[in-house]
């Protein structure tokens, strides 16, 4: 959200988001960039209070000034847009390291999210992903508008025009053991960024194919859809439990796999089932954490001065 719009920032903690991206880039006009930088230090604890993590998106062309303005206690991640090369990531890493030291922040604690939004980035994608240990999650789900423009391809088409570049980024992430930021292809021919139903379908599809990192949204209307879609449904949980029960039977025998009701039960299915159950647990724990944080803030606000 644009950091220069106080009503967005002041209400961010109520939105139930896992993270809020405080934007210094595209949503801030050029003549307000300097002013925007002065707002970051206070905005971070402001959004943190709902249990929400604070990320800051800097401007590609103002790496140093923006990063110096953004690295404060409570910041979790810097999003660096339009990454072109691994060298740029190493420069950013060095600035963050210096600011962490100056401001008493745990060294190495602030992550880098390297945005893959250009043809140059796709060409260098593996080197970019490997350029800093601060990159913990990686992918090219959010290529979106910038990528379309850079490549000269249309955005809202009924087929997957980014299959190659998304694959390149995801393979690099997986080969390096990073968190995979990816999304299945679900056509968006309407161009809407605030359609909660579409967001829910997309999040459910991502969750069903084992993807766990949401890409974020541009409108509060999609937050609940993301939270819900990325949480395994009761049906998924029951199915995972069924797979584990069947596997118990398998272990009593000697067979490496069984066919049960037309399905294969083997170690791969079991790993998936366990992962689904673990993920469901994590989702529930995170929901409790956020609800508790919101309740604390509300209780504090209710106390008469």
């Amino acid at each position: 959200m644009p950091i220069v719009t106080p009503r967005f920032i002041d209400n961010a903690w109520r939105r139930g988001c896992d993270f809020v991206l405080l934007d210094l880039e595209d949503s801030v006009p050029q003549n307000r960039k300097a002013y925007a930088r002065t707002l970051v230090k206070d905005a971070i604890p402001n959004v943190n209070k709902g249990g929400t993590e604070a990320f800051v998106r800097i401007n590609h062309e103002h790496m140093q000034a923006d990063t110096e303005a953004a690295v404060w206690p409570g910041l979790r991640r810097i999003k660096y847009p339009k990454t072109g090369t691994a060298d740029e990531v190493r420069q950013l890493d060095a600035i963050i390291t210096r600011m962490e030291n100056e401001r008493g922040i745990e060294p190495g604690s602030i992550e880098i999210d390297a945005g893959i939004e250009t043809a140059l980035a796709v060409t260098n994608v593996y080197d970019i992903a490997a350029a800093s240990p601060r990159i913990k999650e990686f992918g090219a789900t959010n290529g979106g508008y910038d990528m379309s423009r850079d490549l000269g391809v249309e955005m809202f088409v009924p087929y997957d025009q980014f299959v190659y570049l998304r694959g390149e980024a995801e393979l690099a992430a997986r080969a390096l053991g990073l968190g995979v930021r990816a999304a299945p292809f679900v056509a968006n021919t309407s161009g809407s960024v605030s359609d909660g139903n579409r967001a829910l379908r997309l999040a459910e599809a991502a969750c069903a194919c084992g993807l766990r990192l949401g890409g974020g949204g541009l409108n509060p209307a999609v937050v609940e859809s993301h939270n819900k879609g990325y949480t395994p449904s009761e049906t998924d949980v029951r199915d995972a439990q069924w797979v584990l029960e069947q596997f118990e039977r398998l272990q009593t025998g000697k067979e490496p796999w069984l066919e049960v009701e037309g399905r294969v039960i083997d170690r791969y299915e079991v790993e998936r089932a366990r992962e689904t159950l673990d993920w469901a647990e994590l989702c529930a724990a995170r929901d409790r954490e956020k609800a508790a944080a919101v309740a604390r803030v509300q209780a504090a606000m209710a106390v008469p001065k």
């Binding site: 593996y126 299959v163 190659y164 998304r166 694959g167 390149e168 995801e170 393979l171 690099a172 997986r174 080969a175 990816a182 299945p184 292809f185 679900v186 379908r201 599809a205 069903a208 194919c209 084992g210 993807l211 000697k254 067979e255 490496p256 796999w257 066919e259 037309g262 399905r263 294969v264 791969y268 790993e271 998936r272 992962e275």
Partner: protein, 239 residues
């Protein structure tokens, strides 16, 4: 690399004598005797003991014979299996050029020791991990023995689940990438284009036929399969 007709590659678990016998009679161009993926750990020593005899029996029925092994078990597997009659190995979870070279060194020694011609044993690299796919070109070109490359069970090893389209997540990309790398390296790409909810273990002959048609269109020149009734569809499509 020898030029053989290799449309269908049927895997048979060495712990299942009846599966090995069926595979020999299945009409598959290649039978892959599996020592590792479908053999319970406790059965693996026995599988190794029996593999030399099984190679001779299956080969006498016509198909070429490969054995399936992995970089972590290949020492024991290859010592048990490299005997006259064996045409090659499927190296499952192949990941690095270095692994490929050490497998080749072992094959070289065993070929010499057991009276096989130098370079007689081919390798099919099964790239089932992200690292193996990322470095595919280096892995494949690490040895002249590599005759073919496949994604094997990458969907399971990498946990790639179905997307709403019915394609397994990331697989269209991995398949296209594999075709390009295989052609650049001059080896044969093997595979079929499976879609959810099919898994090779249970897929019907009809669905195998569809997977083979898509696979052929994408550039694959033959495919591995897990059931004898999947052989005929592969032979007809990859002809």
């Amino acid at each position: 690399m020898n030029n053989h007709l290799s449309r269908s590659w049927l895997l048979a678990a060495m712990s299942k004598p009846e599966a090995v016998a069926t595979a020999a009679q299945s009409g598959a161009d290649v039978v892959v005797l599996d020592l590792i993926e479908f053999v319970a750990e406790t059965d693996q020593p026995a599988a190794r003991q029996n593999v030399r005899a099984a190679i001779a029996t299956v080969q006498a029925d016509g198909p070429r014979v490969f054995v399936q092994t992995t970089p972590t078990t290949c020492d024991a597997d290859l010592r048990a299996a490299v005997w006259p009659g064996l045409s090659g190995i499927v190296l499952s979870r192949a990941e690095t050029a270095q692994q490929m070279q050490s497998v080749c060194n072992l094959l070289f020694l065993l070929e010499k020791e057991r009276g096989l011609g130098e370079g007689a044993i081919d390798i099919v690299a099964a790239l089932e991990t992200a690292r193996g796919n990322q470095d595919a070109y280096d892995v494949i070109t690490a040895s002249k023995r590599v005759c073919a490359v496949t994604l094997g069970r990458a969907d399971l090893v990498m946990d790639l689940r179905p997307e709403p389209s019915g394609d397994l997540h990331l697989m269209p990309y991995l398949m296209e990438r594999l075709i390009i790398v295989a052609r650049a390296a001059g080896v044969t790409p093997l595979g079929a284009w499976w879609r959810a909810p099919d898994r090779g273990l249970l897929s019907t002959p009809e669905n195998t036929l569809q997977a083979a048609k898509r696979g052929r269109a994408a550039g694959f020149k033959g495919a591995l399969c897990l059931r004898a009734n999947q052989v005929a569809p592969l032979n007809s499509i990859y002809a």
